[in-house]
């Protein structure tokens, strides 16, 4: 499998502040890749480095084999970026905006493709409206359209669904998924973990400028417990064979235990009974990416 984005020991320092501490990761061609992390983790800095908006203090980035500094023309031509902030040029209509963007990428007479994108994003009826007249969600769609005018093989979306209504989110994901099926590599940052869980095949997590996880989404979910058994017990303390399974105990008698497989629950209950514990309350929770995220972020805090 060839590599769409190759990030090699990228560091970024702003004076005494270090935004990225030597991050290395590779995104393969055709992947749907998620980049997660809390605010200030360095996600946008990393994306901006890929896009050439930020210059790395050390390390290299290649897009489709092209170095983003030395061979910036080829690298940028291969990349479509949807910025996080909603930005627009108030002087132009939607169609003018898309024609101009095409021109910047050296493409003239791009109207057939522009129409296709407008249709795909439900923007066709707004094509001749001025950018100023559009709602925030519509402006966001135009930003997505702008990232696609030059048919880039690699598309980076920086929190594309922040502050966006349900319908647009649906349209957007449908469209992006179709692009991915057609072979485009997609890199996504998001705060909505359920989105990452649903779409991304592989996930990288950043915290305080460091890569703290990089795994297939499935593996990531599995490695961080299949589920949790939350218990309130009385009568006797937690028997020692179960102590290694404790994830957290927010209150003294309320304990969350890691459950690897559901058929492990029964022996756990048996152990409790034998030790003389009474079960006052019991709840079985499924793991989701949010649990994984929270626990990784907790572990990686420096």
């Amino acid at each position: 499998m060839s590599i769409a984005i190759d990030i090699d020991s990228v560091a970024k320092r702003y004076g005494s502040f270090t935004a990225l501490h030597g991050v290395s990761l590779q995104v393969h061609e055709g992947e749907f890749f998620g980049l997660l992390g809390p605010n200030g983790a360095g996600k946008t800095t990393l994306i901006s480095t890929i896009a050439g908006l930020v210059r790395a203090s050390a390390g290299t980035v290649r897009v489709m084999g092209h170095d983003v500094v030395a061979d910036y023309r080829a690298a940028r031509a291969a990349l479509g970026v949807v910025p996080q902030e909603i930005v627009f040029d108030p002087f132009f209509t939607v169609r003018e905006t898309l024609r101009l963007t095409s021109g910047y990428y050296g493409i003239r007479r791009n109207d057939d493709w522009i129409d296709e994108i407008l249709d795909g994003l439900d923007l066709a009826s707004k094509a001749d409206e001025n950018m100023r007249a559009l709602s925030g969600g519509m402006k966001r769609r135009v930003l997505v359209a702008q990232a696609l005018v030059h048919r880039p093989p690699v598309i980076v979306l920086d929190e594309p669904t922040a502050g966006v209504d349900v319908e647009l989110r649906h349209t957007l994901w449908q469209f992006v998924r179709r692009l991915n099926e057609k072979g485009h590599t997609i890199v996504l940052t998001t705060h909505y973990l359920e989105e990452a869980q649903e779409f991304c095949g592989r996930i990288a997590m950043l915290n305080q400028g460091r890569l703290v996880a990089l795994e297939a989404t499935r593996e990531l979910l599995r490695s961080f417990s299949a589920g949790r058994l939350v218990l309130r017990i009385s009568g006797a303390p937690l028997p020692s064979p179960l102590e290694s399974l404790v994830i957290e105990s927010p209150e003294r008698d309320r304990i969350a235990l890691r459950v690897e497989r559901y058929d492990a629950v029964e022996p756990m209950l048996a152990t409790l009974r034998e030790a003389g514990c009474r079960i006052e309350e019991m709840e079985l929770l499924h793991a989701d990416l949010e649990d994984v995220f929270v626990s990784i972020m907790k572990e990686s805090r420096v």
Binding site: R73, F88, H150
Partner: protein
């Protein structure tokens, strides 16, 4: 270079869509200057022999409009794009620094020259203006607008907000322009101020430009050409270096 072509087109479209503000308004202000100063000073001041003050004033005003509008176009376009964030549309595509430089500067030159031509056209309704050496007119108009467009680009890259831009314009560009002999001949100044004026590159733009109309000037137009041409080379190299380093654009 098709990225350049599109960016040039976009910059032209940007100011022509607000043509009242960017072209018509500065023509009107120049005309007001001419009417008022001309009326007050016509019979009192004679700078060159046989040239009335109003006629003397016209090339100065044309040049002033040219310089101010060339500067205003690049600077306001860049600061607006930076403040609103849509500068990324220019930074993301595969365009070189030279393409970006040329597109911004040429568009600003077009605006400056359009305003200058407008001022000239309107004033010739009122005033008989001769054209002695048109080559100088064209040469200094092109170089002057290129210099100011480039300075506007530099100011636009440097300024983070409109306040800083206003400072740059009012504390650097305006004094340099007004003290360049737009309204008077530098020869009429006392010795010290005359020497000081000769350190101002804007003086050479105005003086050389005026030479084209009247065939007379305070200094040799070839000297002016060297000074103005050299200044352009310096500011252009500086602006290109800023763009290539990504100063305040690519962090």
């Amino acid at each position: 270079m098709s990225g350049f072509r599109t960016l040039l087109y976009k910059e032209l479209l940007r100011f022509s869509k607000v043509g009242f503000q960017t072209v018509a308004a500065p023509i009107l202000s120049a005309l007001l200057y001419l009417l008022i100063f001309g009326h007050v000073l016509e019979d009192r001041v004679e700078v060159f022999e046989g040239v009335g003050y109003t006629s003397f004033l016209v090339p100065g005003l044309v040049m002033m409009s040219l310089l101010q509008n060339s500067f205003a176009n690049t600077s306001s376009s860049l600061v607006q794009s930076k403040v609103t964030g849509n500068i990324v549309f220019v930074l993301l595509p595969p365009m070189s620094s030279l393409e970006i430089y040329l597109a911004y500067v040429l568009a600003a030159m077009v605006r400056g020259l359009a305003v200058a031509a407008g001022v000239l056209l309107v004033t010739t309704w009122f005033i008989d203006l001769r054209v002695a050496e048109p080559g100088w007119i064209l040469g200094f108009a092109l170089l002057g607008s290129a210099i100011l467009a480039t300075m506007g680009l530099v100011a636009g890259i440097w300024a983070d907000k409109f306040d800083q831009m206003a400072a740059f314009q009012n504390f650097i560009i305006m004094p340099l322009t007004f003290l360049a002999g737009v309204f008077y001949s530098v020869k009429s100044l006392p010795g010290f101020w005359q020497d000081l004026s000769h350190l101002n590159p804007f003086f050479y733009m105005v003086d050389g430009f005026r030479r084209g109309f009247f065939g007379v000037s305070d200094v040799d137009p070839w000297l002016s050409l060297v000074v103005v041409g050299g200044s352009f080379g310096l500011v252009a190299a500086f602006a290109l270096a800023l763009l290539s380093r990504g100063y305040k654009l690519r962090y």
